[in-house]
């Protein structure tokens, strides 16, 4: 019936359990859909949790207006094919002031067009819970977060005040002004995501696959010239390179990698290989470690 390994089956069942607990306990949940591979798996798990019923909540996409065009095409096709209810929110105030990733520092741009926009969208919708595709293996502070992650008013997270979360029991009773972020994929790793996409035969945005694309190189990073809004520097000429993306976001802030991986299998292989070669590249570590030790010795003695 399903080709999933026992480990992926277990992860899938756990995620479905979390989706159902949240949908049963919160009044107005919403699923944060950001179009990438993690969102693809998140959406697939949500559909499994409630099948044959329709999703009991809408999707929310915070559109900065600087996403790759292919992402928007993929989003709209997914929504119409699956008959989903999608809310698109853009910070129009920021957009009308032309807050863009070229003239503003990435942190300023991200805060206004993404973080503020998300808060406004959640407040406007009156959503008491938002599903996200974040995983604990992504980053050290994420490794500390609960599945039901409570936010005080203003959506702030206090890692010192996390609720206990014992066994399979998920307590979704909210205090005054509290909302919650729900992370059904907390225990998945990046490798699990790709293996699952392969075994479940899920479609992902074509940008994950290598193709000849117009690019420029800046500060050692390859950026794709996705539309005419990208200001070219004097003498800069877009060059066709065979590239793909490991993560997807706003095109001016997302670097491509040169690759020959044109299908899912080779992308998975490249992802796993990349890890191995990172390890194989330990020669640099050796040098650095040695160099550091020397410095330390110099300072020490």
């Amino acid at each position: 019936m399903t080709a999933l390994t026992s480990h992926l089956k277990l992860l899938e069942a756990e995620s479905i359990h979390i989706f159902r607990e949240a949908a049963a306990q919160f009044r107005t949940p919403v699923l944060l859909y950001s179009i990438g591979k993690d969102s693809t798996v998140l959406l697939h798990l949500a559909r499994k949790a409630f099948w044959p019923a329709k999703l009991p909540f809408p999707l929310l996409h915070v559109d900065t207006t600087w996403k790759f065009r292919e992402m928007i095409v993929f989003r709209d096709r997914t929504v119409s094919e699956m008959g989903l209810d999608l809310i698109v929110h853009t910070n129009h105030d920021g957009a009308s002031k032309n807050i863009n990733p070229f003239d503003y520092a990435p942190s300023v741009y991200t805060d206004i067009m993404k973080t503020q926009a998300l808060r406004t969208a959640l407040d406007n919708g009156g959503f008491d819970a938002a599903f996200g595709g974040a995983r604990r293996d992504e980053e050290a502070s994420r490794a500390k977060e609960r599945v039901f992650s409570f936010r005080a008013s203003g959506h702030s997270w206090d890692p010192r005040l996390q609720r206990p979360e014992m066994w399979q029991l998920l307590n979704g009773r909210l205090g005054k002004d509290e909302t919650v972020r729900v992370f059904p994929m907390s225990n998945w790793t990046e490798a699990d995501i790709w293996r699952y996409i392969t075994l479940e035969n899920l479609e992902v945005v074509p940008l994950y696959f290598a193709e000849e694309r117009p690019t420029v190189e800046r500060d050692g990073q390859i950026l794709m010239v996705d539309d005419e809004r990208m200001p070219l520097k004097p003498g800069e000429q877009p060059v066709m390179r065979k590239v793909r993306f490991r993560t997807l976001g706003c095109y001016p802030l997302t670097a491509a990698i040169e690759s020959e991986a044109t299908d899912l299998e080779s992308v998975v292989a490249e992802t796993l290989d990349a890890r191995v070669s990172e390890r194989a590249g330990r020669l640099i570590d050796h040098d650095e470690a040695g160099a550091m030790e020397m410095k330390k010795r110099e300072g020490y003695f």
């Binding site: 159902r20 329709k54 604990r136 009773r173």
Partner: protein
């Protein structure tokens, strides 16, 4: 060990290929008192067993040098302590989840804080673990917090414990000292129901007996920590456990589809089997087991499915579907052992809710009968409990719900207590005794009101202590009467 030597040693194990792990996944907890070296041990395990990527290695090396906390050594705890406050203070505040694989097994490591004030985070971590590594500093031996953590591991249902006697390098690798601690621990562990206790002498900082076998302790013939972890059997499901599926929600769809969505918490069910709603006792036949991937013939423990019955039982979230023979108790009074996790102490007058499996039931009254003394590990009589205490208590529910004993079935025998006002999770507990019929017996119920208890409680006044004592006596009388078959309801409006 110097950095250079460490780099050499790293090539000990080949990089694991993800996906080809044969043993079942193992979720392991590290616990023990503060400064016994939990994060360092796990950091060392990850470092030596190839669970760390190169950019992380470089970062940790840099940070270790910047802080120079361990002289020549790498600060492995930086791999786990991901919160800014944790790095600033050099302590673990909340549990960290780490995922790694060797060629033999997939691991989820749950690193827990040792400080007493963060015990609730440790309890959270413990409840998700198959086995626990309990660390002890070889110089100091078993401490109060070691005993508390052992008691919590026991409470949440961990059956296998590894005592890791750490910092053996600090006591000249002394076998005598190690044996002394081991005997001490085994004696305290006899208070609990652990099925398997192992012990390993280690030195997390040097790596001795963590991944690489130690040359300094030829007297130790057992496995290294990693060898043990790679071969230990994960939690085993009892064969032929009774079927339970707590209903999470009712799914309705086109063509009059009506299904009960939930995860099987124990046992197996086949299409055509009779099932019963444990609360109402009403029965039906299982018609379909549906998933988005197609219908199934059977569903077992851990499967998230949707059950379609041949007749509509008119049940909703909170119901437990069960086999006909071995059913849960439809209970409205229970006894439990719990760990109190709220900064606000237990308040008999506060409103609490009992969250069990998928049900949420109002608590009519609750009384504490005893606390575990973390010096002697014996039970001492008590009427209250506060943060980080382990207490035995009796809980009366406003209506009955389907419950099992935790020792029989974990996932329908555990619960958390919720503060009805602010939603906070105040305690996590396991059911040790249940009874049905106390509140639902209607006119036959003997109501223990003030008038009936006047003589017994003639010496009590209006102070909070006296009120608690009144409650305790009432509960004791109720328990005695119930054990004699008399349904009792305690009149709590005093």
């Amino acid at each position: 060990m110097t950095l250079a030597a460490l780099s050499e040693e790293r090539s000990l194990r080949p990089a694991a290929q993800p996906g080809d792990t044969s043993e079942a996944m193992l979720r392991l907890l590290t616990c023990g008192s503060v400064d016994d070296g939990k994060s360092t041990l796990i950091g060392r395990l990850l470092w030596d067993a190839a669970g760390v990527t190169d950019d992380q290695r470089a970062q940790i090396m840099n940070a270790s040098h910047a802080r120079a906390v361990n002289g020549e050594r790498i600060d492995f705890s930086l791999l786990l302590d991901g919160l800014v406050a944790e790095r600033e203070q050099g302590i673990t505040i909340d549990i960290a989840w780490r995922y790694f694989e060797t060629e033999r097994r997939r691991f989820v490591i749950i690193d827990s804080p040792g400080h007493e004030q963060y015990t609730r985070n440790m309890a959270t971590g413990a409840s998700h673990a198959d086995i626990a590594i309990l660390l002890v500093d070889a110089r100091h031996g078993v401490k109060r917090q070691t005993r508390r953590h052992a008691a919590i591991c026991d409470l949440v249902g961990i059956k296998k414990v590894v005592l890791a006697v750490n910092k053996m390098d600090q006591i000249d690798w002394s076998e005598d000292r190690y044996r002394e601690i081991e005997i001490d621990f085994r004696s305290l562990a006899s208070n609990f129901s652990f099925a398997e206790i192992s012990s390993i002498p280690v030195a997390a900082l040097t790596g001795a007996n963590v991944v690489a076998r130690s040359d300094e302790m030829p007297w130790y013939g057992g496995p290294t920590l990693l060898e043990y972890l790679e071969s230990v059997e994960a939690k085993t499901e009892p064969v032929d456990a009774p079927f339970r599926l707590p209903v999470q929600m009712v799914l309705r769809a086109e063509n009059d589809f009506r299904g009960y969505a939930g995860t099987v918490t124990s046992g197996t069910i086949h299409v055509g089997d009779p099932v019963v709603d444990a609360r109402s006792g009403l029965g039906a036949t299982l018609q379909r087991i549906t998933t988005m991937d197609g219908d199934l013939e059977s569903a077992s423990t851990g499967d998230a499915v949707t059950l379609v019955l041949d007749t509509d039982l008119d049940i909703s979230r909170g119901a437990v579907l069960t086999e006909t023979q071995r059913r849960p108790t439809n209970a409205d009074v229970l006894e439990a052992r719990l760990v109190w996790m709220s900064e606000k102490p237990f308040d008999p007058e506060a409103g609490y809710l009992l969250r069990s499996a998928t049900d949420l039931t109002p608590v009519t009254s609750m009384s504490v009968s005893s606390l575990i003394d973390f010096e002697t590990l014996s039970s001492t009589q008590a009427h209250g409990c506060s943060m980080n205490d382990i207490a035995d208590c009796r809980i009366l529910l406003g209506r009955s719900t389907a419950l099992d004993l935790f020792s029989d079935l974990r996932l329908t025998g555990n619960f958390v207590l919720v503060n009805a006002l602010d939603g906070a999770t105040v305690a996590g507990g396991v059911i040790t005794w249940v009874q049905s019929g106390a509140a639902s017996a209607g006119e036959n119920v003997l109501v223990l009101d003030q008038a009936r208890l006047a003589g017994l409680c003639a010496d009590l006044g209006d102070t909070p202590e006296d009120k608690a004592e009144y409650e305790r006596r009432a509960q004791e009388v109720a328990i005695l009467l119930r054990s004699a078959g008399v349904p009792v309801l305690i009149e709590t409006d005093r």
